[in-house]
Symmetry: C2
Subunit: 182 residues, 2 copies
């Protein structure tokens, strides 16, 4: 296991449920997961090769019926153990970079209309993302009885709750800056 390459764990987490190709993995990450973690092909494929070399995953059916090669990866016992060990360590790095807040913090270098503009832009994107998250929640509510779906549901509601807090804050911030001289 590479020390700081968390994408390894994301992949193991996904493979725990089903065998997937690198391409499938990318699609899964681009779904609900993308709200709290990102991945790219230049990230995923090297991770898969390394983990295969080290016995965390193995190649399954290379299912080449006429078309281009398609490699299904399967998690090994070593891989499952690594996943579970990670789940059982307390340590969890939540690394947040908000360029929006950076701009707001240094807003004094320009006039307040600039800051207001940046808040509005942020607000728009949050609204759009919130709609997507609510779509996910709706789908998940229909299948909440299935074990894993509770976990998916909780991460989605985390997103919804924080995004709604963002929107409330946007309202307050606009009011506060609006009522300010300068």
């Amino acid at each position: 296991m590479a020390k700081d390459r968390k994408i390894d764990l994301v992949i193991l987490g996904l493979l725990f449920h089903e065998d997937l190709t690198g391409y499938d993995i990318k699609k899964r990450i681009d779904g609900a997961i993308s709200f709290f973690w990102k991945g790219s092909f230049g990230n995923i494929y090297p991770s898969l090769s390394d983990m295969e070399k080290n016995g965390f995953v193995e190649k399954r059916r290379a299912e080449t019926k006429g078309r281009r090669e398609k490699i299904l990866y399967h998690i090994t016992e070593k891989g499952s153990d690594a996943l579970k060990e990670w789940l059982n360590t307390e340590q969890a790095a939540n690394d947040l970079k908000y360029e929006t807040l950076l701009k707001l913090y240094f807003g004094g270098a320009e006039d307040k209309s600039t800051a207001l503009e940046n808040i509005r832009y942020f607000e728009e994107r949050v609204k759009a993302d919130l709609a997507v998250l609510k779509g996910y929640r709706e789908s998940l509510e229909k299948v909440l009885d299935r074990q894993d779906h509770v976990y998916y549901y909780l991460t989605v509601t985390f997103g919804i709750d924080t995004y709604e807090a963002y929107l409330k804050w946007c309202g307050k911030a606009k009011k506060m800056l609006g009522g300010m001289k300068g």
Copy 2:
């Protein structure tokens, strides 16, 4: 300006108010800013050298009264222009990595006590951070009349509002997992 090195802008934002040494800059970033952006010496010093070479900042009084050299940096007009230009571009990358949510999402690979443990750990740290943020807010409320402080205040309340949303979510999540079989 380096394309993707946002630390440049953080430094320019800080220097816009006052001349600072690299060491001072690090301390500023470790304060309220650390909740939405991070920096390290291995990050800051190279950025300062580059920006000096390219005319965004310049060295001021090397104030060496007996002690070790101490380099105060001062923002140039070119630097101010770059800062303002950045403030006026809509684009803002908010890159959030929540390892906590990653673990929760894949919680189905272990039993629910593990997930509950991770939520509790997250909750503890959020509570601690929230206390720090509320301390900042209290200090800022005393000086809200000064221009820039409104911006600092808004970023701090952003943190408080989202952290409070996190805590509410923790309560709901614990309840939901607690009332689950398995």
